[in-house]
Symmetry: C2
Subunit: 214 residues, 2 copies
């Protein structure tokens, strides 16, 4: 696919079919992730491609209660939304409910892990939430999502399972020093899958020289 | 460009020409950033496109001492590298030295800001470095980098300037609650620009069901 066509139609697809994904397709998706830039080219991330039915079911069972906790908090955020945005968010929540009870059906759940010892986290000492470690992981996640789009695979970036990292450690054999940061169920879409997306106009996202100035 | 061609040839390009970038090209690059997914589609990031010569010079002056501090620490990491990797890292350091004294020449420095109040940072309470906030920013950064590649523009993701956030706040007019997380100098390459990249093989980056298992 053309780069801009892939980016501009990459949706969060939460309804996935259990049909298997050919190995060569998966290999291309994972290879695309490895192409992403990382600080010092140290590639401080790994993917655990979860395919075992029991493990996928365990991930879903750990995920569901956190999803059910998240929904009412997101409803509060929706109170201030314009009607079109609110309707779109409600559709996303409905699809999220589906994912929370069908995640185990996805043929693969890509669990991204990272090792902070291989990162230079420049905002770690600042008096606000640190995000810079993510700069050496989420570009790879985005490459993987775009590659799924390219291959006709549905996918969605989720992070709620991080909360259960202590339970995930024995389940996934996570060694000391490695932690989780993204969980991407992958499969062919139940419905239309990817398509047009709704985003704020670029004029409200990009300023010139000073914050707020256009 | 084809998606995989763009991804597999996206290099960190640190030698940039001062030539101006046409407005329609920049508009496409920034629009690509807005297409990225974010948690709850809340798009908790903004770009400040720094073009004013004085501001670009100030960014370079704040950057240079941190680069000079970073280099010897990275030399320590290089001690354990294979010869080919070490040579490649040395070339990157040389280009980094160039950037540290020529950053002001880039026609645009894209400064990414984020607002953690618009994020659900699921790993914030865990006893290890938090990265999940980056999941709603760095996919947009990666889209921007890939769009630069598509447009023939050099670019490189840097994060060292976060350390100087207190100085950046008045310089960039950052409002309370907004913080910096990525600084991307953008311009046409001095030399060959993008091209083949060096990465670990996918077999050493992707496991099946458990960490380390293939």
């Amino acid at each position: 696919m053309d780069l801009y066509d892939a980016m501009s139609t990459l949706r969060a697809v939460r309804r996935l079919r259990p049909d298997p994904i050919p190995e060569d397709v998966l290999e291309r998706v994972f290879t695309a992730a490895t192409w992403a830039p990382t600080g010092g080219n140290l590639q401080p991330w790994r993917i655990i491609a979860v395919r075992a039915p029991d493990t996928k079911q365990s991930l879903e069972d750990l995920y569901r209660p956190h999803w059910n906790t998240y929904v009412p908090r997101y409803h509060d955020k929706m109170a201030n939304m314009a009607p079109a945005q609110k309707a779109s968010s409600q559709r996303a929540l409905d699809a999220g409910d589906y994912l929370a009870t069908h995640m185990h059906e996805a043929p693969v759940i890509a669990v991204f892990c990272f090792n902070p010892d291989l990162m230079t986290i420049t905002d770690q000492a600042l008096p606000r939430p640190s995000v810079v470690g993510g700069g050496s992981v989420y570009p790879a996640v985005q490459n993987l999502l775009l590659a799924c789009r390219n291959e006709g695979l549905g996918c969605v970036l989720t992070t709620l399972l991080c909360i259960e990292e202590a339970q995930l450690r024995p389940l996934l054999g996570l060694p000391e020093g490695w932690y989780t940061c993204a969980f991407v169920p992958i499969g062919y879409p139940v419905g239309g899958g990817h398509g047009p997306i709704r985003r704020r106009p670029v004029s409200s996202m990009v300023f010139t020289d000073r914050f707020g100035a256009t």
